[in-house]
Assembly symmetry: C2
Amino acid sequence: MSSTHWQATVSWRGGAYVGWQRQPNGPSIQAEFERAIGALCGTGRVPVVASGRTDSGVHAEAQIIAFELPEPRTLRGLIEGVNFHLPDDISVISAAPAPEGFCPRKWARRKLYRYRILNRMGRCPFRRPLTWHLRKPLDVDAMIAGAAHLVGRHDFSSFRAARCMAASPVRTLHSAEIITDSDGEIRLEFIGNGFLSHQVRIMSGTLVEVGLGARSPASLPALLGAKDRGAAGPTLPGQGLTLVWVKLGEGPVAG
Amino acid sequence: MSSTHWQATVSWRGGAYVGWQRQPNGPSIQAEFERAIGALCGTGRVPVVASGRTDSGVHAEAQIIAFELPEPRTLRGLIEGVNFHLPDDISVISAAPAPEGFCPRKWARRKLYRYRILNRMGRCPFRRPLTWHLRKPLDVDAMIAGAAHLVGRHDFSSFRAARCMAASPVRTLHSAEIITDSDGEIRLEFIGNGFLSHQVRIMSGTLVEVGLGARSPASLPALLGAKDRGAAGPTLPGQGLTLVWVKLGEGPVAG
């Protein structure tokens, strides 16, 4: 198997980066990939596209990217070569020749984002870089009740960063699960067809306010209806957020 | 609840440390605890003992330590105060007043050590600091067969660092499990009444040689019988090793 046009599943810890997108004010995941693939090919940077952007500090277990090489490479040569030139906190997990016309952004159908909260008194050295630590106890049942109101096709303007430039604020949230473990970790898992800028972190911050008793689960439909960012909860820190997976269709989304 | 004599369950990521024991050649976990507890109490360092030593780079999910404060503290004040003075990669998880005559080393009955191997081509940014990455595929069934020969009460001289100063090389290994997950991770989990210096890492290195086909599972009884460190496999790197838990008895081990 040898190809010039590739798709790859990639993973990173975002703590040291300003986010996916290349920008002048710090190291980005996109710039690291473009530099590493260029180094492998002995060229300047090789343009790389992803299924979407992630913010500063956000992690990815399995983002999908695509790029075109100047010359064909084998699967093994590509993965080992790119990983050799990447820093330790970014990695290619797997790769495959890209189908004709492939675009990870247009072909993406569903994404799972996970927001991890360590909700206990003692912190945890292992979870620390990947979770947000909140000592005040959360009422998980109230959060579950609140999250149910967010599921469906809605105008998510109340849960959108002021700087969000998406043409439409309408998105479909397929599920919103709240999962607890025996060590005090609470995971908020959102599956949707796509997300507005900061949407997951603002939904999470709003559900935390529900868990603290500062707002009721039943208040969430009115909050969606308000279409007012100022009415929702805070944007939680990026370090707690992980893009877990992206599911692709067989071609671009219609329309 | 207020006390001067405490036991605590503590956790750390070992990557930045020379191991548990205070020593001149680098930062140790013990020195960090002694400094942090001293800082909380406004004194010089407060002596801290653990259930055993761990090597450079080795992690702990739940080590048991003990110490005596110059003045009584509450549970919450102790945990939050010590954590405030500890670096982010070390933490107190929980604490309780220590029973009369408590010594975590003498009262320890069983320990679980886990050696994590990422056995696949692509590395993983999330597992990287806590696992050892091996690309050559391992035969897990052979490793399971080999591990079974190590279980029991044996003279583990073949699996002991040259510098090990334990009075007796006899230890009881209660279990040796090899666990795989769907992402290519292989975990070697050893429960024993205690372990010699480097014992877990040498047993793991020997089982890796079994998994690579370089030695047979059936050769392990003779290796135990040889009582010769040179006959066993390599000491695997410390970064893959974690002390998972320590179980205590109601008093010191007899004899």
